[in-house]
């Protein structure tokens, strides 16, 4: 989550869901929290009951809107314009929390005089290279300061700072204090003034033209947020994939982060930016990553050319100040966890045995690689890309180009069955006998059939215990990978090949339990926690060393197994402990529930107010204390000034709460860490029915387009054929189903609740296109056409954008041809077009057409449907 990483230092939600109950105002945007996070939504309801304003902003009126005190309807894909309007209103009217902004953010820092804004360049920042379609970001730096390019510039489009984005190395400044500051925030090149100019054109009237939200509501939103911020009150933002799934998604999150920094809402109870994750342990799967470009704990994956030596790797990725200054301790402890005795100082702790990346190996590049036969085999676990990935039709065809495919799942999903049960087979575009892919289906154990942990939305690690043995051949992922590794190692045993040392020297000695020889998940957790020189579990990442005497599978999880106890398994009821509930599970880092919580006190260490006290400086004991684990060096006084030569956390001042950043501040302006700009800019979605009313530059220039014959993009407004796709399409989830449907469409009790794919349209659009409630509609883009049942509802309503009436079509994306709840896959409609920072596809805003009736192939095969509209 680079939006959060670049803003605050860590790529995780800044708060925890229970804390939403302490908020005075909750803005839910880019999230349908009541439907997609119903259990956590109880804390929003609690806040509402206590009198908080709950504001839902969304293209659709959803179950979340129904629970909110206010609802604003906006055009899909225009969120930055609205948030920019809020920022502008705050800055033009002096509504910012001045003391917080001055001391805790980089508002005062002077930026390099070579920096040029989108104001100067009609929608581009300085140093855009049109032939490479990337920025050289050096001019975005603090004046007279070298900003380290934390992950190199090694991929198409450039991914400088990608790791920063996820984890927080954004602040790789070459020393702790910015060289030039204006404490009065008046220097024309200080961040505060740059920000003010940058957002000055986001006036309420312009925002209305872009978003469809009336100007008065834009002002009302900004005023309501400001009224509920400051010393006595706090406001929170809640978002989910409604923000991330855009070609400029990371900057959506940046825009909210800027608002929260300006209003002083980060690190304080009832404040923050709550990133609701897509499903169970998604946070965990970036912490201990399933991503190609990072190692556990957000350490960059070494590159084949650039990261030849350990020494150079450690130099490049350690920062001077802040806790990333100890990166060598984290990394060498990781190498020791993996290669144990074989990792020695002499062999660079087996650094050369780590795999290397050479280019973008993200999910969609893999799909294209399958098409181009450079990727020959695929192991697909816990995912149903045949319906769950953008341009799913291309993905299914790509699977037909594989030599082999392994699918591990509970059910024979669309991915496992693509070779005989798919739209392509049904339509006659592919024939089973022509598909050469050898498909292996391996049944997976469910969560009730195995022990392990979830790391959920608020970085909270919670243990679950096995309830029953898995049936038949069903096995856990842990079992599968452990025994796969064991068998590979047995086959390689005795090999003299250097290339096999990486596998043969691994520490692969997990104890197994029971008849099926299930590896002990607790032993894995202990390895992740790490061991000290005495062989005992370490208690904190500050105990890790860079000399090989400690081992640790993921430094941010240090402490989860402190004292040899599985702290993730704690389940003390909230009624029996303090507000932060520190003894329910365990949260990284160091069991802190609100991150950057030093900011809940003023620069002298006193709570901003009694009502919002959380963590404060106790001069008597000389320690930070309070309701939560202080997210600060516990005995560093608020007036601490770093002496010359101080490094890492000791190079930061005692009044700088963002301890993962190289300058200890929240970043209103991100001098590094993001590839598409230091500040958010309203760009139109890749497919949009209107021009960019703000700038000549229409869409995010750095977006990844992956244009291919089977991945065409709908013509943009002004291009030939744009009028073929006059409506906005947005996709989403329902409470009743889970992502690609493997866990819900095949379960009778869930499937009956939403048994068929449908599209939601307004009565106005239904009238315009002749759609009948309960009938059929065909929805088309340049990728595909699919059919769906029609749900006509007042919850959908056209928006007025730049004087035009614009209709939006909503579709839940869960469906596919198998299971009890069936339908075409809406992902067939979407293009592979991605945000450049995180390679996430734009599923939330595209263009489409809608007409009544079933799709052509269906009509050809079965004849017209009587009475089906």
């Amino acid at each position: 989550m680079p939006g959060l990483g670049a803003s605050f230092g860590r790529g995780g939600a800044t708060t925890f869901q229970q804390d939403l109950a302490n908020s005075d105002c909750i803005v839910i945007m880019g999230s349908n929290a009541a439907e997609c996070h119903p259990v956590g939504f109880q804390f929003v309801m609690e806040a509402r009951e206590k009198g908080a304003e709950v504001i839902h902003i969304d293209p659709r009126y959803t179950r979340t809107s129904a629970m909110s005190t206010h609802y604003l309807r906006l055009r899909a894909g225009s969120d930055i314009a609205l948030l920019g309007g809020v920022i502008n209103h705050i800055l033009q009217n002096g509504l910012e929390f001045r003391e917080y902004v001055k001391h805790y953010t980089n508002a005062s820092v002077i930026i390099d005089d070579r920096f040029l804004d989108t104001e100067d360049l009609d929608g581009l920042f300085s140093d855009w290279d049109p032939s490479e379609r990337r920025y050289d970001t050096t001019s975005w730096s603090y004046e007279d300061m070298q900003v380290s390019a934390s992950a190199g510039e090694r991929e198409q489009g450039g991914t400088m700072g990608e790791q920063a984005g996820h984890g927080g190395q954004g602040a790789a400044l070459s020393h702790g204090e910015p060289p030039h500051e204006d404490p009065d925030l008046e220097h024309p090149r200080c961040v505060f003034q740059i920000l003010k100019r940058h957002f000055s054109r986001y006036t309420p009237e312009t925002v209305e033209r872009l978003t469809g939200v009336p100007a008065a509501q834009v002002v009302w939103l900004a005023e309501t947020l400001a009224r509920n911020s400051g010393r006595e009150r706090t406001a929170a933002f809640v978002y989910a994939v409604g923000w991330t799934q855009h070609t400029v998604g990371v900057q959506y999150i940046r825009a909210a982060s800027i608002i929260q920094l300006l209003l002083g809402n980060v690190g304080r109870p009832g404040g923050g930016v709550m990133a609701l994750r897509g499903h169970a342990t998604i946070q965990g799967s970036t912490d201990i990553p399933t991503l190609y470009n990072i190692l556990p704990g957000y350490i960059p994956m070494p590159h084949v050319h650039e990261d030849a030596s350990l020494k150079r790797f450690l130099e490049v990725y350690s920062s001077y100040a802040g806790f990333w200054g100890h990166m060598p301790s984290y990394f060498i402890s990781l190498l020791k966890a993996w290669w144990g005795e074989a990792a020695t100082p002499e062999n660079g702790f087996c650094f050369d045995r780590l795999p290397r990346i050479s280019e973008d190996h993200s999910m969609y590049q893999i799909a294209l690689g399958m098409r181009e036969k450079t990727v020959k085999g695929l192991i697909c676990a816990g995912q149903n890309p045949a319906v769950g990935s953008a341009n799913a039709g291309l993905y299914r065809r790509a699977m037909a180009d594989l030599e082999w495919l392994v699918v591990r799942d509970f059910v024979e999903s669309e991915t496992a069955a693509f070779w005989y049960d798919s739209q392509e087979i049904e339509d006659g575009d592919l024939r089973t006998e022509d598909i050469g892919t050898e498909v292996f289906f391996l049944p997976a154990a469910a969560q009730t059939e195995k022990s392990g942990s979830y790391t959920n939305t608020q970085r909270l690690v919670q243990w679950h215990h096995k309830a029953v043995e898995p049936r038949g051949d069903c096995r856990s992922e842990l079992w599968f990978y452990y025994h796969l590794g064991r068998i590979i190692r047995e086959k390689l045993a005795g090999s003299g090949e250097a290339r096999d040392r990486g596998v043969l020297d691994l520490t692969w000695t997990y104890p197994t339990e029971g008849e099926i020889r299930e590896p002990s998940a607790e032993a894995v957790l202990a390895e992740i926690n790490g061991f000290g020189p005495d062989g005992k579990p370490v208690g904190a990442y500050t105990e890790l060393k860079d000399d090989g005497s400690t081992s640790c599978g993921c430094w941010i999880y240090c402490g989860v197994y402190a004292g040899g106890e599985n702290l993730a398994a704690r389940r003390k009821p909230w009624t029996e402990q303090p507000a932060a509930a520190p003894e329910w599970g365990w949260a990284w880092p160091a069991n802190r529930r609100i991150l950057y919580n030093r900011a809940s006190a003023d620069r002298h260490g006193k709570p901003w107010s009694e009502r919002k006290r959380w963590v404060w400086w106790d001069a008597g004991t000389g320690k930070w204390t309070g309701e939560d684990m202080p997210d600060f060096v516990v005995d560093m006084p608020p007036d601490y000034e770093p002496p010359d030569g101080a490094r890492a956390e000791k190079a930061l001042r005692g009044d700088k709460p963002f301890i993962m950043q190289g300058d200890g501040r929240g970043w209103l302006f991100a001098p590094s860490g993001l590839v598409d700009g230091p500040m958010p800019v309203h760009y139109e979605p890749d497919e949009s029915p209107i021009e960019n009313l703000l700038y000549g530059q229409r869409s995010n220039p750095v977006r990844q387009q992956l244009r291919r014959p089977r991945n065409p993009h709908n013509p943009a407004e002004g291009e030939q054929g744009a009028d073929r796709f006059p409506y906005v399409l947005t996709t989403y989830r329902l409470t009743e189903h889970h992502t690609g449907g493997g866990m819900s469409r095949y379960v009778e009790h869930l499937a009956e609740l939403q048994p068929a794919l449908f599209c939601e349209v307004s009565p106005q659009l239904a009238a315009e296109r002749g759609l009948a409630n309960g009938g059929w509609a065909t929805i088309s883009t340049s990728r595909s056409e699919i059919e769906a049942r029609v749900l006509v509802t007042d919850r959908m309503h056209p928006v007025t954008v730049d004087g035009r009436t614009l209709h939006q079509v909503g579709m839940p994306f869960h469906y596919g041809p198998r299971g009890f709840a069936r339908g075409d896959a809406p992902n067939d409609l979407l293009a592979m077009v991605m945000d450049p920072n995180v390679h996430i596809q734009e599923s939330k805003a595209a263009t489409c057409n809608v007409r009544p009736g079933r799709r052509a192939a269906h009509r050809r095969r079965r004849g017209p449907e009587p009475g089906a509209g």
């Binding site: 005190t69 609802y71 509501q217 869930l750 009956e752 049942r789």
Partner: protein
């Protein structure tokens, strides 16, 4: 001990009666997640009710029945959720989306139980109304008797026996919370001693009205209503009929006495007439 006594509870239990329990369903905090429907089916091993897309908002199960013992209604209306005054956020298209989880009312005067000829329906020691599936013979007399249309016969088993919510008798008798209430993430479904629930509901109504929810009311809390009060009652945000609930439910058997009286009077009048005519003839 709850004050709301039924004909057979606690009287017929001697000392074995326990506190009368029930549900208070507070629809003002229902988020329409349907976890209650699913938890109910999982615990009670109920089959699916058909995979039918109804195009009726987000409701695809339709109504309570023999296979659906909790049912969430979805009602879309063009009125605002909360009456707010001039804060500038009215977009000219006010709307609200009411959601409400319906269930058997476990009436104090329960018609289904009163008409059951086999004794399959009975009043438990907890004051709830339960069908015993091993006694029910599928006669179906309870079905038209219920003023809410809750109890229904299950045809797919071939014997047409009647089924409905048991208030999770197999959980509650052991001190557990019913499955639906346990699964509800927002405490919209509250389970407990009926007396406590009524007190809580009265306070809750006050608070909801203060928050500006137009039309908030309690439904089924009045022991003076046509079923002598519900064992499972509701806080609604609009009139009951908006949710598909009868505004003035009456246990039809309550009028049996009256009807017997009328029948007796009619019989007596008839007898008198006959006697008079005979006497007259004699005369």
């Amino acid at each position: 001990m709850a004050r709301i006594e039924t004909e057979s509870w606690p009287a017929t239990y001697d000392g074995a009666a326990r506190e009368r329990v029930g549900f208070f369903t507070d629809t003002s905090v229902c988020i329409g997640c349907k976890a209650c429907e699913v938890a109910c089916k999982e615990w009670n091993l109920l089959p699916e009710d058909g995979f039918v897309f109804t195009a009726e908002s987000y409701d695809n199960t339709g109504a309570l029945g023999s296979e659906t013992w909790r049912h969430v209604a979805f009602i879309e209306q063009d009125v605002p959720l909360i009456e707010t005054a001039g804060d500038g956020d009215d977009d000219g298209n006010p709307m609200r989306w009411l959601m409400s989880s319906d269930v058997c009312k476990h009436c104090t005067s329960a018609a289904c139980l009163n008409v059951c000829p086999t004794g399959a329906l009975f009043r438990t020691e907890l004051g709830t109304v339960v069908v015993q599936d091993d006694i029910c013979n599928g006669c179906g007399m309870c079905v038209p008797a219920c003023p809410f249309g809750v109890i229904a016969r299950r045809e797919r088993d071939g014997d047409g026996r009647a089924w409905k919510c048991t208030l999770c008798y197999d959980r509650t008798k052991d001190g557990l919370t019913p499955a639906c209430a346990a699964a509800c993430p927002t405490e919209s479904i509250q389970y407990g001693p009926l007396d406590e629930l009524r007190e809580r509901a009265a306070q809750r109504l006050q608070s909801v009205q203060q928050q500006g929810f137009a039309g908030a009311r309690l439904y089924g809390e009045d022991p003076g209503d046509g079923v002598d009060g519900f064992g499972a009652f509701f806080l609604l945000l609009d009139e009951p009929q908006v949710y598909g609930l009868p505004p003035d439910p009456v246990d039809p058997t309550k009028r049996l006495g009256e009807m017997w009286g009328a029948a007796a009077a009619a019989g007596a009048a008839l007898a008198l007439g006959v006697a008079a005519s005979l006497l007259g003839r004699r005369g």
